[in-house]
Amino acid sequence: MTAAPVDRRPRRTLRQKLGTGARLVAALVLAGGVYTAFAPSSHAEDTKQLSVAAQKGQQLYNTSCISCHGKNAEGVQDRGPSLVGVGSAAVEFQVTTGRMPMSRQEAQASRKTPHFDDTQAKQLGAYIESLGGGPQIPDGDLRKGDVAAGGELYRVNCSSCHGFSAGGGALSSGKYAPSLHPSTDRQIYAAMLTGPQNMPVFGDNELTPQEKMDIISYVQNMKSDQSPGGWDIGAIGPTTEGLAIFLIGITALLFATLWIAGKS
C-alpha cells in the first residue's frame, strides 16, 4: 500500500523567503553599482552627447543617406565615400545646393533643387560633425570683406576654372566648375573650406577666413553688378560676341541690303 509522500522538510516561513530576496537584490545592486562605477563608460557617454539636432540629423541620415554612405557613415565601396571627419561644412554645402542626395552616379553631381531645407541640412551636419569632427562654417555675416582685395584673390585663385564673370567653365571629361551665380555666402565659404568634387581645398592657411570673406564679397558684388555695358550675353567673352555679330548684325544688314535692292 502506498502512502502519499509527505514533505518532511521544515516549511520556510514567508519572512525567511522575503529576507533571501532582499539580500539577493542588495548583492546585485552592489555588484552592479561597483561595475558601473569602475567599468569604462564610453558607450553611455556616446549616446548622451548626441544633441537634439544631431539626433534629428541621424534620423534623416538613416532614411536618405545610409544606402550610399553606410550605417555608420563609414562609406560603401563604389557608392559613397566615408563621411567621418568631413565636417558639417561639407554636409551643408552638398545638401543645401541639392547635390546630395545624388540622383545618379556621373562625372559630377550638379546643383539641383535641395531635398532638405536649411534646418535639416544643419541637423545632418551636426550628426556628421558628431562622428569625427571636421571643418565648420563660421556663423555670422560672411560678406564683411574688402571687395577689391577679394577681386584680386578671385582672379588669382578662382577665375581659372569659374571664369572672370563666375559663370563656370568646362573641365576635362565631362567635369566642370559650376556657375557661382546661384551660390549663397555660406555655400561659397563651405566650398572653399572643403573643396567639393574637383575643387581644391582652400584651407585656412591658404586663404585666411578674412580672405575668404573678401572673395565672397567680390563674387556677390559682381552678381549684383548691373552689367554697365548693356545685355551681357552670358558674360562668357568673345564666343557669344562673335555669335551675336553674325546672328544679329550680319542678319539685320543682309535684310537691309535686300530691302534697299528691292526698292531700286
Binding site: G167, S172, G230, G237, T257
Partner: protein, 535 residues
C-alpha cells in the same frame, strides 16, 4: 552804280565754278559721278565693311584722346569700386577711365569693338560672294589679292586692339602670341625678344609697338589698300550678273550720282544705326571684370575675337607631337604649336592669295570675264568653297569648344575629338554635298528649259496614269520639248514668275494686296446633278 543782288540759287554753281577754275576737277569728277553700280543686293556686302571701317576711324580717334599706352604702374582711384586701390598699368587704368569716367566713353568703346567684329564679318561675307560668283577672275585677280590682304591686316589690327587695354584677357592673348613666336624653330627666341624687348612681357616696348601699330601704321595701310581696292573697282568697272540686256561689254545699274549716292548714304546710316544699337544695348569685352594683367591670372573660356578663334581652335585640336632634331651638335625642338599657328596661317594666306591663278591653271580659263557665274554652274569651285568654309567653321567652333562643352553638357574631351575627326571628315563631305547639290540645281534648270514650268495641275490619263501639266517656255516641238539655251541666270520655275498667274502675295507680316474674293454662287443658279460612279 547798283550792286548786283545776291541770288542764293546761283550760289552753289558759282562756288563750284570758282573751284573748278582753280582745280580743274569737273571732268574727272563727272567720270566718277557717272560710274554705274549694279543693283543686286549681293553687291552691297563690301559696303558694310567700308562703312564699319569709317565708324572704326571715328570712334577710334575719340578713344585715342583718352588712352595712355604705358605700362607704368599706377594705383586705381576711379569710379569702379571693385578695382579701387589695385595697382595696375596706366594703359589699363586709362581704359577703365574711358569706360567709367569719360562721358560717352563706354558706349563709344563698345561701338568701336562691335564695329571691329562687324568689319571682319562683312569682309568675310563679301569675300564669300566674290568667291562663289567667280568675280575674282581675270581681270580682277589683283583686287582679290588686295581684298584678301585686307582681311589679314584687319586680323592684325584687331589683335593689336584686343591687346592694348592690358586687361587679363589681353595679356593672355599676348602671352599666346609670344608662345607662337617662340615656337618658330631657330629664330623663335630672337623674334620674341625683338618684339617684347626682352623676356615677356618686357615693359613699355610692346605697348609702343601695339599702339603705333594700332592707331597709325596698320590703319594707314588698310586705308591705302581700301583706296587701291576702290580705285581698281572704278578702273575695271563692276562685274554684274548675266540677264536681259547685260553683256560682257556693258554694266547695268544706278549711276554714282544721284542714285547710288542716296542708296549708299542711306545704307551707311543703317550700318551706323545697327552698330550704335549694338554699342548701346549689348555689352562687349567687359575689361573691368578681367582685372589688370598678371602672369598668374587666367580665366576659363579665354577666347580671342571671332576672327582669330580659328587659330585657337587649330591649337586646341593639334595632337601633342613634338619633333626634336639634332644638327651640328645643337638640339632643336619643333613644338606642336608651330604647325597650327605658324604653318597653317602661312598655308592659308598663300593658298588664298594665289587662288585666282590656281583656278586659271586648273580650269584652263584665262579669258576676260565681266559677267558673274552662278555657284551652281561651277560645281568644283562651289565645292571647294564649301570645303573651305567648313574647315574654317570647324576650327572656329573648336576655338570655343570649352564654352560649348560647358553650356551643352558635353565632355570637353569629346569636343576635342569631334573637332579632330570633323576637321578631316567634314570638309570633303561638304565638297561632295555642295558639288551634288550644284549639279542637281543645274539639272533642274535644264529640265525647266526643256519641259516648261510645273503648273501644279495634275491630269489623269485614259490609262489611269497621273501626269503633271507643264507650261512650256516657248512653242514646243512634236515631243512637247523646247530647245532653249541656258543663259546663266535665273530660270523661271513658278507660274507667277512668267506672268501666267498673279504675282505672289506681297507683304511680310500683312498681305499688301488682298486675294480675289471667291465668287458667290447665286441661289437660282442651276447646278448639275451627277450620280457617283456612273455617268
Amino acid at each position: 552804280m547798283k550792286r548786283p543782288k545776291f541770288d542764293p540759287k546761283q550760289a552753289p554753281g558759282a562756288v563750284a565754278d570758282w573751284a573748278d577754275q582753280r582745280l580743274a576737277g569737273a571732268s574727272p569728277l563727272r567720270k566718277l559721278f557717272n560710274k554705274v553700280f549694279p543693283d543686286h543686293w549681293s553687291f552691297m556686302l563690301g559696303e558694310i565693311a567700308l562703312y564699319s571701317f569709317i565708324i572704326l576711324l571715328l570712334t577710334g580717334t575719340f578713344l585715342a584722346f583718352f588712352f595712355t599706352p604705358s605700362s607704368a604702374e599706377v594705383v586705381y582711384h576711379g569710379s569702379y569700386v571693385p578695382l579701387r586701390g589695385i595697382s595696375m598699368s596706366q594703359a589699363y587704368a586709362s581704359a577703365l577711365n574711358i569706360s567709367f569716367d569719360v562721358r560717352g566713353g563706354l558706349v563709344l568703346r563698345q561701338i568701336h569693338h562691335w564695329s571691329a567684329l562687324l568689319f571682319m564679318a562683312a569682309i568675310v561675307v563679301h569675300m564669300l560672294r566674290i568667291f562663289f560668283t567667280g568675280a575674282f577672275r581675270r581681270p580682277r585677280e589683283m583686287n582679290w589679292m588686295v581684298g584678301f590682304l585686307l582681311f589679314w591686316l584687319g586680323f592684325l589690327e584687331g589683335f593689336a586692339g584686343y591687346s592694348l587695354p592690358d586687361d587679363a584677357l589681353s595679356g593672355t592673348g599676348l602671352r599666346i602670341a609670344d608662345a607662337i613666336m617662340l615656337s618658330i624653330p631657330v629664330i623663335g627666341t630672337w623674334v620674341s625678344f625683338a618684339i617684347f624687348g626682352g623676356e615677356f612681357p618686357g615693359g613699355d616696348r610692346i605697348f609702343s609697338l601695339l599702339y603705333i601699330g594700332h592707331v597709325f601704321l596698320i590703319p594707314g595701310i588698310i586705308l591705302g589698300l581700301i583706296a587701291l581696292h576702290l580705285a581698281l573697282l572704278v578702273k575695271q568697272k563692276h562685274t554684274q550678273w548675266p540677264g536681259p540686256g547685260r553683256t560682257e561689254h556693258n554694266v547695268v545699274g544706278h549711276r554714282m550720282f544721284p542714285g547710288f549716292a542716296a542708296k549708299g548714304g542711306g545704307f551707311f546710316m543703317i550700318v551706323f544705326g545697327v552698330l550704335a544699337l549694338f554699342g548701346g544695348l549689348i555689352q562687349i569685352n567687359p575689361i573691368w571684370l578681367f582685372g589688370p594683367y598678371k602672369a598668374a591670372v587666367v580665366s576659363s573660356a579665354s577666347q580671342p575675337d571671332w576672327y582669330v578663334m580659328f587659330l585657337d581652335g587649330s591649337t586646341r585640336l593639334m595632337p601633342p607631337w613634338e619633333i626634336r632634331i639634332h644638327l651640328f651638335n645643337h638640339g632643336y625642338t619643333v613644338p606642336p604649336i608651330f604647325w597650327p599657328t605658324v604653318v597653317l596661317p602661312g598655308v592659308l594666306v598663300t593658298l588664298g592669295l594665289l587662288y585666282p591663278f590656281l583656278e586659271q591653271r586648273f580650269m584652263r580659263d584665262r579669258a576676260h570675264h565681266n559677267l558673274l557665274q552662278r555657284p551652281r554652274d561651277v560645281p568644283t569651285r562651289t565645292g571647294l568653297g564649301a570645303m573651305a568654309v567648313t574647315f574654317f567653321v570647324v576650327l572656329t567652333l573648336s576655338g570655343g569648344n570649352d564654352v560649348i562643352a560647358d553650356k551643352f553638357d558635353i565632355s570637353l574631351n569629346a569636343m576635342t575629338w569631334a573637332g579632330r575627326i570633323g576637321l578631316l571628315v567634314l570638309p570633303p563631305l561638304a565638297y561632295y554635298l555642295a558639288y551634288r547639290i550644284a549639279l542637281g540645281l543645274q539639272q533642274h534648270d535644264r529640265e525647266v528649259l526643256a519641259h516648261g514650268v510645273e503648273t501644279g495641275i495634275i491630269k489623269r490619263l485614259p490609262n489611269g496614269a497621273f501626269v503633271e501639266v507643264h507650261q512650256p517656255l516657248a512653242a514646243p516641238d512634236e515631243h512637247g520639248h523646247t530647245e532653249l539655251p541656258y543663259r546663266g541666270w535665273v530660270v523661271p520655275k513658278k507660274m507667277n514668275r512668267i506672268g501666267a498667274i498673279g504675282p505672289a502675295i506681297k507683304g511680310f507680316f500683312v498681305p499688301v494686296e488682298q486675294p480675289e474674293e471667291p465668287r458667290e454662287v447665286e441661289a437660282e443658279e442651276q447646278r448639275e446633278e451627277i450620280t457617283s460612279g456612273r455617268r
